[in-house]
Assembly symmetry: none
Homo-oligomer: 414 residues x 2
């Protein structure tokens, strides 16, 4: 098995200004390719220390991947140090300088001369194009060792690794690891593990529960000599688990509930409208994270006051006075109101106390009502997250659960 | 200045199963105490490699902090290795074995014998009590070097460091480090560094540029014997920089543009309404991330189709036919339309192509129009992010820039 080390570069890391998510991303990807990560480290923008770190890593491992330090400023020196250690001269790559120039032109900005530094690359390397920034990456292979330098920002590193570095690394890969996720809502991690029963003890594939942001998932991971063989090991286990877990499952290998909801709306040729109070746009934002959501969604109302709830959504003054804005009654009238206003097939709504804190004792932060209406029936649910001090969580989970109502509607669970 | 290294222990880290937040937490705390973090690393549960790592760190630095590997299972060996390297015998601490026994009793569980391993601690060490788990930590000080071992779970590490390790470390603290951020928009990282000029070479405070999500910031960091002295060093530099950078600055030490915008709206006692097309709720979501935003915002319209733009916002059919939905004209009518509908003082809007890809050649993904209206004048801006394939970025930046319009409105730059 080939071994790899990851070196993250940047004084900002050592100061704790930035959370290093690149390391985890790379570790996970390398593990899934059957390349063993032996060691990871973070060093500052310091030439000697970085060179020493790369040299030491190369004595222990076959592959070294660096992230960060490819910017245009003088303290960005990862590429230079990689070249020094690998004894590779840096030369200007004309196509890259052209590309950087065009990048700035397109943005209608003048290119600072310092950016040309980013077009200086090892004479003999595989260039990794950067479609999300100006710093290209590269792969230097020499004397049986491989050094890969990647930009630091995750938005640049992730696609560069996935689309370009991974294929280059394929020759170092030993066997295949395949992983799938069963995603669920409205059930906790431990209850999920209990439902999964004996499957939890399976050695290959392994089954592991994870909890995140109001959801729980089971990750099924198999290793075998080929991806096909690993898939074959997974399949019966996934089928068995989905059957056992039943209505809590919103999908296998979905990225998010919104992905499932857009798919269901498209399949059923239905349009959704959204009325948001406490979430204030979060639900619509997440639904429209999915490209093509415009086919199933075109109207959202953010009604952050009683006036807007009445004037735009037609919630009755009596309801608001009698039950308050945070009530099942208001949620139901909002859902039906937005459906009618938008001339949509389905309307969903969420109204609650996001926090931190609450003005009212009987309506604590974390208390949220959500509803769905199709014009004939309206169904509501009450959530209480118990988190009185986590505004983001309360808003996130409200949106998730309201979207899950749409899933349950189509699956006829409600 | 004393130097420190952080070593994270656990094969699960190298597999990417866990995001290492301990490192960032410790780095930040140490920086604020004036202890320089020189190096960080992650190693697996491997006795030789961990010993080698600690030894090497001690040749370079005064202090080594480890996290993780204090559990009851045989692969948890951090404490043993720390003792080996520091030449300190492990002995049973009776008070700790009692404590662990009580911990299990309280949970109504039998204590597995293996847990007693956690009561074995260096003969001569400062014990760090664990009130959130069973593994105590410790501080070994010998021959001018200091090794601190902490448990891995953040819920145990964070309070243990804050309440117990930090006081022990106080004697290594050299004054204070203070850091401030000047946050800007509409200017790139390198152009910002060029504007900053000579300040970039300042040794104390240091000035460093960072780019993130369509923004650029300068971080000003000073170290001195006290926080007050460090602040004194920062102040003139910050003032000088803010003057030089001028209109691009949206704030010093703000977390986000929305924080600044909510503040400006409150100060000016004005209400904002938001009409969103491509961002579809993202702008309102971000504005309402700020607790108390309801005082300045109560109505948002997500108009993801021409019909909704006409019917709810009053955008004219002629405008949509002649210029299209993605045009300055539509953006202006949306901003004024939502302002009127919401009876607000200001209306902002964003309409554009988020991508990935575009249906029309002359309107590529990343082309966005934003506008602001106060009922007497309407001002628009055209953005072209150049990112045809990054939906999230295009939407994020549209929201940011529209919010920045509100800032520029109050600062009379537009």
């Amino acid at each position: 098995m080939y071994t790899c080390e990851i070196i993250s570069v940047g004084t900002e890391l050592l100061l704790g200004d930035i959370l290093n998510t690149d390391e985890q991303f790379l570790s996970r990807k390398l593990a899934s390719m059957g390349i063993a990560v032996l060691h990871r480290s973070s060093v500052g923008d310091n030439r000697e220390r970085l060179a020493e770190e790369i040299r030491r890593a190369l004595t222990r491992s076959d592959i070294v991947i660096t992230s960060g330090g490819l910017g245009p400023t003088p303290d960005d020196l990862t590429k230079e140090v990689c070249c020094e250690v690998m004894d590779c001269p840096l030369v200007e790559h004309k196509d890259q300088s052209e590309k950087i120039r065009r990048y700035f032109e397109k943005k209608g900005m003048d290119m600072p001369e310092s950016n040309l530094k980013q077009a200086m690359l090892p004479a003999d390397c595989t260039v990794l194009e950067n479609d999300n920034g100006t710093a290209p990456g590269g792969v230097i292979e020499k004397n049986g060792k491989c050094v890969i330098f990647l930009p630091g920002p995750p938005k640049e590193l992730v696609p560069m690794f996935t689309d370009q570095a991974k294929p280059v690394l394929a020759k170092y890969s030993s066997g295949a690891i395949v992983s799938h996720s069963i995603r669920t809502m409205e059930i906790g991690e431990s209850a999920l593990a209990e439902l999964a029963g004996d499957h939890m003890d399976s050695p290959n594939p392994t089954v592991a529960p994870y909890a995140k942001d109001g959801e729980a998932l089971l990750r099924i991971t198999a290793s075998a000599e080929s991806a096909e063989k690993a898939e074959e090991l997974c399949r019966p286990v996934i089928d068995g688990l989905v059957k056992k877990i039943g209505k809590y499952v919103y999908g296998v290998d979905y990225d998010s509930i919104q992905q499932r909801v857009v798919e269901l709306l498209r399949e059923n040729n239905k349009k959704l409208a959204i009325a948001e109070s406490c979430t204030a746009g979060y639900t619509a934002k997440r639904l429209t994270d999915i490209p093509g959501a415009s086919a199933v969604f075109d109207c959202g109302i953010i009604s952050y006051s009683n006036e807007v709830k009445m004037n735009l959504l037609g919630v009755s003054e009596v309801t608001l006075k009698k039950y308050g804005a945070v009530s099942s009654q208001t949620a139901c009238e909002m859902a039906e109101g937005v459906r009618r206003l938008a001339k949509a097939d389905l309307g969903i709504s969420m109204t609650g106390v996001a926090g931190p804190g609450s003005d009212s004792e009987d309506k604590p932060a974390g208390l949220i009502y959500i509803a769905i209406s199709d014009g004939t029936k309206t169904v509501w649910e009450k959530l209480n997250t118990g988190k009185t001090n986590d505004r983001e969580y309360n808003r996130y989970v409200s949106a998730s659960r309201a979207l899950n109502l749409v899933r349950k509607y189509f699956e006829k669970i409600i």
